[in-house]
């Protein structure tokens, strides 16, 4: 029996280690339920999961509309931070909240591998 949560958490830890300035990470199902999360509270985990899935679902519908291909991710900027949401195939959404001055190059380098691993973990866990 594989422990999905533990394995995903390992991936989270690696992202956090490689890319300084991460505030929190949530892995949510496409219908907005938390799968694994590294945020302050349960309340936050649940609400963020729901919001992230709404955001991603809506963004995803814009691809066909504008003929811009498959949905990969979306980023949202705030005065004091950013949120990046990535599609993990069709099985989940990975959301990473960061400080404003994050090293984007590093994040872009680390994320594709992390997504692949997470999607692998989830499909073996099924």
């Amino acid at each position: 029996m594989v422990n999905i949560e533990e394995m995903v958490r390992e991936v989270f830890d690696e992202i956090e280690k490689e890319v300084p300035g991460i505030k929190g990470i949530v892995l949510a199902s496409p219908d907005g339920l938390p799968i694994v999360s590294d945020v302050e509270s349960v309340e936050q985990k649940n609400r963020i999961s729901a919001m992230v899935s709404a955001l991603a679902a809506l963004a995803k519908r814009m691809g066909p509309e504008l003929r811009t291909g498959e949905f990969e991710g979306i980023s949202v900027d705030f005065t004091d931070g950013r949120i990046f949401c990535y599609a993990v195939k069709d099985v989940a959404i990975l959301a990473i909240a960061t400080h404003k001055d994050i090293n984007l190059g590093m994040l872009n380098l680390v994320v594709p591998g992390a997504i692949n691993r997470i999607s692998g973990i989830i499909s073996t866990g099924r």
């Binding site: 496409p30 219908d31 907005g32 649940n46 609400r47 709404a54 679902a57 519908r61």
Partner: protein, 174 residues
């Protein structure tokens, strides 16, 4: 002159909001349904919004549907913004959703005191709760409560026209 109106379509999970909008929209609807990972009695569920458009006479009605599951309650406020009124759909065969229907009604009305009517869906299926009982439960005048089959285009059309006429009358009176 043609005018533009925004109408919110809300209600608990499975009430038929997505079906309602899909059945009357004149344009391909924007739906954000995804496969549900928990058992909610159907395959898919709305996670952000439904959007559709219908003309009544010269007037354009833009329909915005909400998700029904409680955890998406933040969308109720977002989508209510600017609406001239709302339609609350309630599944008459599923009393376990009545408390959430009441919560949504109170929630929306407390922030947006706009005209509304309640659509009682699925009373083609038995056993279904009586619209009058649901009106009483929601503490809504029976005149605001009306059956509608969300899966039937004609029924939905009649319902939306009825809603719009009520809205126009209420507006005249003001």
């Amino acid at each position: 002159m043609s005018r533009i109106y925004k109408v919110l379509v809300t209600g608990p999970v499975g009430a038929g909001k997505t079906s309602f909008i899909k059945n009357i929209s004149e344009i391909p609807v924007v739906d954000t349904d995804v496969r549900s990972t928990i058992d909610i009695g159907k395959e898919t569920t709305t996670v952000a919004m439904d959007y559709g458009l219908i003309h009544i006479g010269d007037d354009e009605i833009h329909l915005f549907g909400t998700p029904g599951q409680d955890r998406f309650s933040f969308m109720w406020d977002i989508l209510s913004e600017g609406a001239i009124g709302f339609i609350l759909l309630v599944d008459s065969t599923n009393p376990s959703t009545f408390p959430l229907a009441r919560k949504i009604l109170d929630h929306v009305l407390s922030r947006f005191p706009i005209p509304y009517i309640v659509g009682i869906t699925k009373n083609d299926i038995q056993p279904a709760w009586d619209p009058d009982f649901i009106a009483e439960y929601l503490e809504v005048e029976p005149s605001r409560v009306r059956p509608v089959l969300a899966i039937d285009r004609k029924s939905v059309l009649d319902f939306i026209v009825y809603f719009f006429e009520l809205y126009l009358k209420a507006k005249e009176r003001r």
